[in-house]
Symmetry: C2
Subunit: 433 residues, 2 copies
């Protein structure tokens, strides 16, 4: 039998424990794929005494990252600590000491990717990060390897399981945001502090990583226009449903007019299309390559074992040498090309507007008149018979034909500044395929 490879696990939270479990419980299977045994030589975590139900001898668990980074017998380290610090310092320590690194930390890569990738290249090491985006879905490998012959034209993704669980449950149960959030927290699909999930931070960071792979450019994630799901109410969902759509939090990156356009926002997706059929804690990515056409991936985007599956695949890739090869060509595309210049999201799309109008004669004509002035033509209008008194605020829902996003934004500003509305207009993109 070939010599085993010794790995260090940094962090024994949900994912770290899952990785140890998978490496130990599926050892025979993994050995066949890696060509040699993969042994957990050392795990470091804050609280080694805590019982995690792992069959890891106590003398292999400690608290000091240096027990991994300074151990010359360890060649591969899985960094499974979340957040920016101490994760960043740990990654630097591991790379400086010659370890190949596997990580699931998307925030770290989105924030410090360029610095860490450069350090790894300088040290002749690799960073593998399949688990950082869309959990068990092999979207990193798909873009970096399998679709390498393609220029990627666009990516659309549901990249956050918590917010998708909330949206699809609101839709199925007709329930309100706050109630479903509580349910998600009770079921373990949402953190006690769900801010990073529901405000879109998590999905935007993943989008920044996908854009790096697909377009060869590091876009600071904070520069990507971002709207979370807090503003989505069951009323909006009902109107979307009436028009044949569902609401999903969609990350978009696409080449448009020689620039790269990106955004993260709730959007209407047509019933029957794959993104609309993505429910619960599932993630999905739909992308278009110039040769392959439209491709769609769907799977569990989070959770202990799906994420561990991706981490262990990366450990195997690192052990057999595939990760080193892939890392050399990761994100080397078009860095001098137009895609490196990020532009506004001025694409031609259908838009869904919910205008909160005062129920008075002539209002519909005023609103549609403003849209007309901005060159926006209307596909359909819904205004239900209001139950309140004349003059009360009622929702007016408008679906436009494909038109410029910038023009719609100008028209909405115009509408919201007029005296016939009471409240801010909601404007969502509409994705028909």
């Amino acid at each position: 039998m070939t010599q085993p490879v010794r790995v260090g696990i940094v962090g024994l939270g949900t994912v770290g424990s899952g990785v140890v479990r998978l490496l130990m419980e599926s050892a025979d299977h993994i050995t066949r794929h890696a060509g040699r045994p993969i042994v957990v030589e050392r795990a470091v975590c804050r609280d080694p005494a805590r019982d995690r139900g792992l069959r890891l001898p106590a003398d292999r668990v400690s608290t000091d990252i240096r027990d991994v980074s300074r151990d010359p017998s360890i060649t591969v380290a899985a960094l499974l600590v979340g957040g920016l610090e101490p994760a960043r310092s740990m990654m630097i320590d591991l790379l400086e000491h010659g370890k190949d690194v596997v990580t699931a930390n998307k925030a770290l890569l989105a924030e410090h990717g360029p610095e860490l990738f450069e350090l790894a290249r300088k040290k002749g090491r690799s960073i593998a990060f399949e688990a950082a985006v869309a959990g068990g879905i092999p979207i990193v490998a798909a873009i970096a390897e399998c679709l390498a012959a393609n220029r990627i034209e666009s990516i659309r993704g549901i990249l956050n399981g918590t917010s998708n669980f909330i949206l699809s449950t609101m839709e199925e149960e007709g329930a309100d945001y706050a109630d479903v959030l509580k349910l998600a927290q009770a079921k373990g699909f949402a953190e006690a502090d769900p801010a990073m999930d529901v405000d879109g931070t998590d999905a935007t960071q993943k989008l920044a990583i996908l854009a790096h792979l697909a377009f060869g450019v590091w876009v600071p994630w904070g520069d990507i226009p971002r709207t979370g799901i807090e503003g989505v109410d069951s009323d909006l969902m009902a109107y979307a449903g009436e028009l044949g759509y569902r609401i999903r939090l969609v990350a978009v990156a696409s080449r448009s007019g020689g620039k790269l356009a990106m955004r993260l926002a709730p959007a209407l997706v047509k019933v029957g299309t794959p993104l609309a059929e993505t429910r619960g804690a599932y993630n999905a990515v739909s992308l278009v390559g110039d040769a392959v056409g439209r491709m769609f991936f769907h799977g569990l985007g989070a959770g202990q074992m799906p994420t561990a599956s991706a981490v262990v695949a990366d450990i195997i890739d690192t052990v057999v040498g595939r990760a080193a090869i892939t890392f050399r060509t990761t994100g080397v595309l078009d860095t001098d090309g137009p895609a490196a210049r990020m532009g506004g999201m001025d694409t031609l799309e259908k838009h869904f507007l919910r205008v909160c109008v005062n129920d008075l004669p002539g209002v519909l004509s005023r609103i549609t008149g403003i849209l007309g002035e901005h060159g926006i033509s209307i596909a359909s209008v819904i205004q239900h018979d209001p139950s309140g008194a004349s003059g009360a605020a009622v929702p007016l829902v408008i679906m436009t034909h494909a038109c410029s996003t910038a023009a719609v934004e100008r028209a909405v500003a115009h509408i919201d500044a007029s005296d016939v509305v009471s409240g801010k207009t909601v404007c969502l993109s509409v994705l028909d395929e």
Copy 2:
């Protein structure tokens, strides 16, 4: 600039021409991914004079495979000739002369895979074959690399675009098999001789290759129970629709009771599930891994550029060295394990039966009585008011609860031997997720 890699293209049909086009038109992009230029040194085909609209100099196109296999400057060959011979002899010639081979020929691998893989291993060469299954969908890489940490529990796939185009068009247009087949031929989605597509040969060969990757066993494709789509009529589709299902040609491989169960047959798939939403010439694969859970892939399974996308990705993988690594561990799983023993498909599933009964008193009781004798319990029955005379043949449609496939087969044989039916009962599996 690093030295270019010189490749030979064997076969300039639809896929071969697409590969040459992609290598030439996306040369800059591909060079970045491969780390060096990839040059088409030589293409061989039967009719070099034919104009394929390629920018390939005439002196690089010839008719003799030896112009590729004997050229020491060529290290990688793409074998893009269909059928068994001369493809098999060509593959052997290429491997014997030290070429790494990339191929899209599923029939060749399903029939002669063990022999060819062994020869490649003996010669220290690799065979890459992403394009042989599901066209542009990277399902080979997904199973062999990305999901390497998982034991695959089951695979379900729509693996033949022609038959899926026919089924989904029949369903959408309410049209008959023969008419839609003609339309598919006119649109170029079906060959003049569609036998291999509609009788399930093509999909079964692809299933055999997937089973090799997922379960490490070469199942002779002819041993896999196979039913094509010729027996699917618009009447069956209407009944399926009434029950909330669509009909798809589904390839199935799953671990069941320590054995590997496989089949290729039309099945009812529930509306809203990914397989049911797979329309037109698209392919789809749904699989379950023990760690990753259920994963779904969807994309164009055939056509010039989607297939070329997969072939060129394999050429890049071969050039950078990933293919050699992956080939070493391909299909090395569980060859001594239970999955290597193929069993009957005796799984517990819901079944859909269409019995052609003589419209006489007591018939429903007879049929349901026979099902009861075989321990099969009934979930729903459809019998529409017959328009014909008493005693005429009318369809009786029955959906069972989950029950043993073997028991259903025995019950159907019993029913078909009885005197109350006129015609053979159609029995299809029902897939609810």
